[in-house]
């Protein structure tokens, strides 16, 4: 996985949420110091701070946002702590009203927090001047659900807009615009107006525009929610490729688990202004803890539905044994089924299956009906256990 490869080697040891914890751990973990890079966190406080700046692109510390409305105070974001690493694709999922739109707008200062601290690329953005904030925004760009292109400008002029804002001279603008048009696959469309483009093409213009000033962070505000599934896939592929090519950190918000599954390294689940669950996508998919997370996971795994139908399967396949295999990550690549059939004298019938692919590996379930003599079935189950596949016997003879 290219993203892993870019991380410093000590990344796996790293779960340091703040300076004080670093200091506390400093002495105990001196022996773990790596000298192969200058990113070592534990050698001094200053270096630790430097390290945190290096590894985290965005840090939120107890961030809150309250709105005062006529109906009373609304707490859109409530004490959120998040650390988003450099170069990762970080997803925030939640239903509408969960506060994710407000949260992503806090990251480039479009909304000001009412409490807490936001650090972007080593800079505290909650207390800086409007002028400095405008400079930060050139490095933290954003794409939108409804694209938000200027209809009065052509594709090329839209992409040139942020360059004009940054004060790039005219001749250099043209070169950069051509580069970007090529990067997002819109060759030959430079002189079109947005009204002449499809939704997917408009989002490509939005992405090109967002990349114009070579940002370090790309914020995606429901960037694929207005697109059909096929176009969504192509836009997500484009996001993955720019994440890999340009090494830029992507933060996206969505209500679709498919989007998280397809491109994110890590995910945070938001509900009523809180981050209720957070972790590596694969981990969250395997082991969702909160009810809301389980609901999101069932969007893609259909696990919930599967459980409902198990009883029916037992009735439908009364013979032999029904077993459920749960695949997580690498084993999915192994030819367990063909080995099973070759090694054991059994009839193997696939009753139901569902394997999903996330960015960090596959996971899924497979329900098999095994028919044959009972000792062969026992041996087969033992064999599957040995392959480190989670096995569950659903029914006996």
């Amino acid at each position: 996985m290219p993203y892993e490869a870019r991380q410093p080697s000590c990344y796996v040891h790293e779960m340091v949420p703040n300076h004080s914890r670093q200091l506390a751990l400093k002495n105990e973990r001196m022996d773990e110091c790596y000298f192969d890079n200058n990113l070592n966190p534990f050698c001094s406080f200053a270096e630790g701070f430097f390290y945190e700046r290096k590894i985290y692109m965005i840090s939120l510390k107890a961030v809150s946002k309250k709105f005062n409305t006529k109906q009373g105070q609304i707490v859109a974001v409530d004490g959120v702590n998040l650390d988003i690493k450099k170069g990762e694709i970080f997803g925030i999922i939640g239903y509408s009203g969960a506060g994710k739109s407000t949260l992503i707008r806090l990251l480039n200062g479009l909304e000001k927090p009412t409490g807490g601290k936001i650090i972007v690329n080593g800079q505290e953005i909650t207390s800086i001047s409007e002028a400095k904030l405008r400079q930060v925004r050139q490095k933290v760009s954003m794409i939108f659900q409804h694209f938000n292109l200027l209809w009065s400008r052509t594709v090329a002029e839209n992409i040139a807009f942020p360059l004009e804002i940054a004060g790039v001279p005219k001749d250099k603008r043209a070169d950069r615009v051509n580069e970007l048009i090529e990067l997002v696959g819109l060759e030959g469309r430079g002189d079109y107006y947005p009204s002449q483009l499809s939704g997917g093409q408009k989002q490509r213009v939005g992405i090109a525009r967002a990349l114009a000033n070579r940002p370090e962070v790309l914020l995606c505000d429901e960037a694929t929610s207005a697109l059909d599934p096929e176009t969504t896939d192509s836009i997500l592929d484009l996001l993955i490729s720019i994440n890999e090519k340009l090494g830029l950190t992507i933060v996206l918000i969505t209500h679709e688990m498919q989007v998280i599954q397809k491109i994110c390294n890590r995910v945070a689940v938001m509900e009523a202004g809180h981050v209720v669950e957070e972790g590596d996508v694969l981990e969250v998919f395997q082991n969702p803890k909160q009810p809301i997370t389980k609901r999101f996971v069932s969007q893609v795994s259909e696990k919930g539905q599967a459980e409902q139908t198990i009883q029916r399967l037992v009735e439908l396949y009364p013979n032999g044994k029904l077993i459920k295999l749960v695949f997580v990550g690498e084993q999915t690549e192994q030819p367990i089924l063909s080995k099973l059939i070759k090694q054991f004298d059994l009839e193997v019938n696939i009753v139901q299956g569902n394997i999903s692919h996330t960015k960090s590996g596959a996971f899924g379930t497979l329900i098999l009906q095994l028919e044959g003599n009972s000792s062969a079935i026992e041996d087969a189950i033992h064999f599957i256990h040995e392959q480190k596949v989670l096995t569950e016997v659903i029914s006996n003879d």
Binding site: L149, W151, E164
Partner: protein
Amino acid sequence: MIDKIFPNVDWPKMWEAALETLYMTAVSTVLTFIIGLALGLLLFLTSPHQAWANKLANWLTGAFVNIFRSIPFIILIILLIPLTTFLIGTMRGPNAAFPALVIGAAPFYARMVLIGLREIDKGILEAAKSMGAKTWTIIWKVLLPESLPALVSGITVTCISLVGYTAMAGIIGAGGLGTLAFLDGFQRNREDVTLAATILILILVFVVQWIGDIITTRIDKR
């Protein structure tokens, strides 16, 4: 034949009056455009959640616009006599019409500018902000270009109103086709002079509308 239908029309005089009307309309349209645009932008930018959100400034601008939009033009001319004599030095001739024309039309246009600006998708403003644009950049590169068709069709309508206003201003001696129709036509009972002046005004209005429509369609890329 023309002499038979319009026996009393003094054509060189009519032509001179038409040019005066054209002059008054053109200059007052330009001034109205500039002042109305500024007022409209001020109304928009001082409204809640905008860059210069300010309740007092918004209320003051709104009150100014509403008051001058509501005063009937013919009364406005009379009310503005002191201001006009102070600014222009006289109450006679085409130049004397400008203060009343602009003060009467600019608030009207400001409202149309505001409507045009409000039609701009909020997301586009947010996008510009997210790119680090300053308020002035947003005004020049987003607000004005994105609302341009509305601004142009608005100034077309305003310009046509101004043609009507110049005729009214003619009654108090500003010159132009209005004065001619009133003094030479109405007061001396020569209906053909009134008719000829009316036809010329109609032609002027149609030409303005036609040009306005062409420009609006050409710049609208939505």
